[in-house]
């Protein structure tokens, strides 16, 4: 069985080093070409640097950087060291960063100008042996011995780095996911995922050599780690990466001017693009675009039909999740699409719909979507949460937490979550984290957080709040609470709806009855 590194090395032997690997597009839409040779050289430099800073095999290397090629260079550099990289969203607030660094036992942290903002937090994490600072324009004044500045120009000019030997079952990378209760969990994937990534690039997304691929997902998301970073690297595919903010006036020129052939994005992005008039899209030539895929939330039929009209192409919905590693259910190009359905099982996936007796449901009956154990890209652990890992597997099946049904032709249709996790624009938000931040606010006695339906985001975060006596609800207080969640967690987790109530419904054990809260929002 291959590893991520062995597959990458095989690709590198077949590629012309001077060919472009990444077209890096910035917010002004100017394009920087990064060749395969540069990727190899830059990742070697960083692997060498990490090694000199005592980065050991199996160490967890956290990458907390603004969107830049450095994420790619350090990710691959860490893999070459035998370390386990983990990318964090650059807009995370301090609680979100702290919990992930602690839960994931960070040994090394790669950061940039954010260091200034989070210096005290970073230095408070005792497991971190090295903080590597990569912003060349601004060097921090701190003289802490754990802080090291990396300047690619002044790094040792090595051309070659011998990667540490890893086996397919060794941990390769880590991605965080949120659950119904408690703090986020660190999902560990092993090197054996590499072959599955290759297969899904070739057989599901069907990206051919010499076709330009654009996966819009940030690498902190499983889709970004697997399909923005690793997929192109393991298949020798040229890809587009865009570091600016989302906007139709940015994305459409990229699709047109770069001649993107395979495009993998999210329903929320499509729904946002739908705000532009059809006339807007007539200005663009999308003739190079041959395949479009969607991931993250259910793809509404109305979005599918809009895409067909605007791009003259089908949008192929796909399904997987952080623990699943690679696409497990998809509408594969060349097969009939049922709008509103996620598609059929792909690769080595064996999804089933189980009832409460753990028996397979009849067609069209809603039940728990489960995956039969044994697929190659399955995660190998929640880091240091073995019991949580074990609880996800029952009677030979992995519990996805999704509710779905399968029709009599084998197509799967997503119905909703079987737990309390909120899926907002494809990101999973655990209610517990949001409640913890809100409960820490002086004005609040009790809080319950749940999902509310949303036309754009699929679901939005809604907070039911019990205020202290004599506290009056106001725009100012709402603003204060929103800022608290954004600065402690992230903008994604910020409630869009606040409902003031007299009490939060709970069962006898004190557990919040979130289904009651959800009903009130309908």
């Amino acid at each position: 069985m291959e590893t991520i590194l062995s597959l990458y090395e095989k690709q590198m032997r077949t590629l012309k080093g001077t060919d472009t690997a990444i077209r890096w597009i910035d917010s002004s839409l100017s394009c920087q070409q990064i060749t395969w040779k540069e990727i190899e050289k830059e990742s070697n430099l960083r692997a060498d640097f990490l090694t000199k800073k005592q980065c050991q095999q199996g160490d967890h290397v956290f990458i907390f950087l603004q969107s830049s090629p450095e994420i790619w260079f350090f990710f691959l550099g860490a893999l070459k060291c035998g370390a386990v990289p983990c990318v964090l969203f650059p807009n995370f607030g301090e609680d979100a960063i702290r919990s992930r660094l602690i839960i994931g036992k960070a040994a090394c942290l790669i950061t940039d100008s954010s260091f200034k903002k989070f210096e005290a937090l970073f230095l408070s994490i005792s497991t971190i042996d090295a903080i590597i600072y990569v912003d060349e324009a601004e060097v921090p004044s701190s003289d802490n011995k754990r802080l090291h500045c990396f300047h690619s120009a002044s790094a040792s000019n090595i051309q070659h780095f011998t990667p540490r030997c890893v086996n397919p079952h060794d941990p390769a990378f880590m991605v965080f996911t949120s659950g119904s209760t408690g703090f986020p969990k660190a999902v560990i994937h092993a090197h054996r995922i590499g072959e599955s990534i290759q297969r899904s690039m070739q057989q599901v997304l069907q990206v051919e050599k010499h076709e330009l691929f654009w996966c819009t997902a940030h690498p902190a998301w499983i889709t970004g780690t697997v399909y923005s970073i690793l997929g192109p690297l393991l298949c020798g595919i040229e890809s587009v990466q865009y570091s600016g903010n989302f906007h139709a006036k940015r994305w459409m020129p990229i699709l047109q001017d770069q001649k993107v052939v395979v495009w993998y994005t999210a329903p929320t992005a499509f729904r946002s693009l739908m705000h532009e008039s059809p006339e807007f899209y007539k200005k663009f030539d999308f003739s190079a675009l041959k395949k479009i895929f969607s991931i993250g939330e259910p793809l509404n039929p109305v979005v599918y039909f809009w895409g067909k009209e605007i791009f003259n192409q089908d949008i192929h919905d796909t399904w997987f999740q952080t623990e699943a590693g690679t696409i497990r259910i998809a509408n594969v190009p060349g097969t009939a699409i049922k709008p509103g359905f996620m598609g059929k099982a792909v690769d080595d996936a064996m999804p089933v719909i189980l009832n409460e007796k753990n028996q397979a449901n009849q067609p069209n009956e809603v039940g728990r979507l489960c995956l039969k154990e044994g697929w190659e890209s399955c995660f190998i652990d929640y880091f240091e949460q073995r019991s949580a890992f074990a609880s996800k597997f029952q009677s030979g099946f992995y519990e996805t937490g999704d509710l779905a049904y399968q029709d009599d032709e084998g197509y799967f249709c997503f119905v909703g979550r079987d737990d309390d996790v909120i899926n907002t624009s494809g990101h999973l938000v655990g209610p517990f984290e949001v409640e913890s931040v809100l409960l820490a606010q002086d004005e609040i006695v009790d809080v319950g957080v749940t999902a509310a339906p949303d036309d754009l985001l699929y679901e939005k975060v809604a907070a039911f709040i019990v205020l202290k006596e004599n506290i009056i609800w106001s725009d100012k207080l709402e603003s204060k609470l929103r800022v608290a969640v954004t600065s402690h967690l992230s903008p994604i987790a910020t409630p869009k709806v606040f409902v003031i109530v007299d009490e939060i419904p709970r069962n006898n054990a004190g557990k919040i009855l979130r289904n009651v809260l959800r009903e009130r929002l309908k």
Partner: protein, 85 residues
């Protein structure tokens, strides 16, 4: 300054967050509160560029650069005065 604040308040209410009836204070957090989210940050930058002739780069589109209408007005005026458009 006051005129810039007035223009920004109206434009943000009507065109960016599309809540014309909302009371928007000049010192109210816009970005850190999620009132202006990632989907309309670029719209804000395009609006500022069109009206004030000031370009805002994506790396400046965050609450560390400006978060309230007052701070945005200051940000615009500083850029106008420094000639960095």
């Amino acid at each position: 300054m006051n005129q810039t604040i007035e223009i920004l308040t109206e434009k943000i209410k009507n065109e960016i967050i599309q809540q014309p009836k909302r009371e928007l204070q000049f010192d109210e957090p816009l970005i850190s509160s999620g009132l202006i989210d990632s989907f309309n940050l670029v719209d804000l930058a395009l609006m500022v560029e069109e009206i004030f002739g000031v370009h805002i780069d994506d790396y400046e589109l965050n609450s560390d650069s400006f978060d309230t209408i007052e701070e945005l007005a200051m940000f615009i005026i500083e850029k106008q005065e420094s000639g960095i458009h």
